[in-house]
Amino acid sequence: MTTQPAVLAVEAAVATQSVAPVVAPAPRRRPRLAWLVRIASVVAAIGLWQVLTANHVRLWLRFDTLPTVTEIVTAFGHRLGTQDYWLDLGQSLIRILTGFAIAAVAGVLTGILLGRSESFANVFGPLTELTRPIPAIAIVPVAILLFPTDEAGIVFITFLAAYFPIMVSTRHAARALPTIWEDSVRTLGGSGWDVLVRVVLPGILPGVFGGLSVGIGVAWICVISAEMISGRLGVGYRTWQAYTVLAYPEVFVGIITIGVLGFATSAAVELIGRRVTRWLPRGEEKTR
């Protein structure tokens, strides 16, 4: 107890010392140095992995069972040359994009209706609130039973996973929309349709894109899991398949592929989102 204030004081002193000189433009002055540090950090982590696995280190965690960096790189190079790899990749992309696209359309439509129509919210709202807490992946058995093909089942799971974050964000955005925009369009002679198309749809875009960003993330989680459980092709299926035949470097090839795909799709959503919401006031911009 008695030492605590002293510790805090020391921490505070250290904090002010290290922060004070960096206050204004310091991080911008040395972008090259910052990048060197970032790259070095990643290289160090990869190096550590190589050291741990190549020397069969066993410190409770059993690194001797895992492939080395060189083994993974070799396997990756080999896999990239096979047709299977690209088929799997294409299959997974088709599944996620189909499921995600359906979820985006359905999520935005029902989100607007839930946010703006009381009668629709009364009929449909309780159903969404009851089903929302169930993780999409828990529905896999139902999807297998319900859909005639595994393919449709996997797309359905992906759809379900992405649907809820999109719907919830859209609903919230539709409810939080400032009424003054609607009022101004109506007093200019706009109809209900004009309000929907010219105020609601553009106005909720920032919120919708928040939902799309979350949605694409959970969609990947679910498409990979569903493929591991019931797929015949796909990155998730191949990764699990590699594990069952003890091809551990290939497992890592799959994991890295999933990471790259996830990053690329999220970045695409983010980029499109920024482009269509350029009108938002942003911190760095000055107003006249």
């Binding site: 400032p178 101004s184 369009v185 109506r186 200019l188 105020v199 009108w279 938002l280 006249r288």
Partner: protein
């Protein structure tokens, strides 16, 4: 242009937002083509009356008539200019004005030229492609003025349109308003709590009482919008009416 401005009539009007009435039993008629200023203490319901006139708020009881027709909803004939942030932020200056022209039913062909002319009329040439976020408050209100009048509405409700501006900008906006209104005559109902603004632009000035109380005063402004006329007596009268409504509560 057909008849200059529309007549607006309020009969025994009761308005509320679900609770106790904000406006109770108001009778008021707005003459075609005049600028009627509504003023009163804050919370007296002047903006509420304006919303009802625009058709954005349904009366609890009583009648609102526009040229003898009951007002049931919004119409392109009764436009509204808000205090701030009413421009669609994802549309440029030009696009905001063009939307008003489109909603007013103008054919696509002339819309762009009309919009540019309106932008020039409010002194914003060169800012056509700016988004509202890159404009100052005064410039945004210029756009709102253009947008509100571009559809040639027969009445315009103005809800403290210059209330958020600094004194200097406000003075130039008042001049611009009068100038634009002379070029495009229409009925204007103008809400403000600034007595000098009321005296400067109004044909008549209505002083509302506290929430739920009757009209305190309805005063004619002799030779309106004539800057040389001294209006200290009228000013005193309005201020006493305002004070009176202040004290009664």
């Amino acid at each position: 242009m057909s008849a200059v401005g529309m007549a607006l009539e309020l009969h025994d009007l009761v308005l509320s937002y679900g609770g106790p009435p904000v406006v109770d039993g108001l009778d008021l008629s707005v003459r075609p083509g005049e600028i009627l200023v509504l003023t009163g203490p804050s919370g007296c319901g002047k903006s509420t009356v304006l919303r009802a006139l625009a058709g954005l708020l349904r009366p609890d009881s009583g009648r609102i008539e526009a040229d003898g027709e009951p007002v049931v909803t919004t119409s392109r004939d009764r436009a509204m200019v808000f205090q701030d942030n009413a421009l669609l932020p994802w549309r440029t200056v030009r696009s905001n004005v063009e939307l008003a022209l489109k909603l007013a039913g103008r054919p696509r062909a002339g819309r762009q030229d009309d919009a540019l002319r309106w932008i020039a009329d409010v002194g914003l040439t060169g800012f056509e492609d700016y988004l509202p976020k890159s404009l100052s408050g005064g410039m945004r209100q210029r756009v709102q003025l253009a947008r509100g009048l571009a559809g040639a509405p027969r009445a315009v409700m103005m809800d403290e349109p210059f209330g958020a501006l600094d004194t200097q900008t406000r003075t130039s906006m008042q001049r611009l308003l009068i100038q634009t209104w002379r070029a495009h005559p229409t009925t204007v109902v103008f809400v403000t709590h600034d007595v000098d603004e009321a005296l400067l632009i109004g044909d008549r000035i209505a002083v509302l009482g506290r929430a739920g109380q009757p009209l305190r005063a309805l005063l004619d402004v002799p030779s309106p919008r004539e800057p040389s006329v001294v209006r200290s007596a009228l000013r005193a009268e309005i201020i006493s009416a305002l004070d009176h409504s202040e004290l009664v509560s």
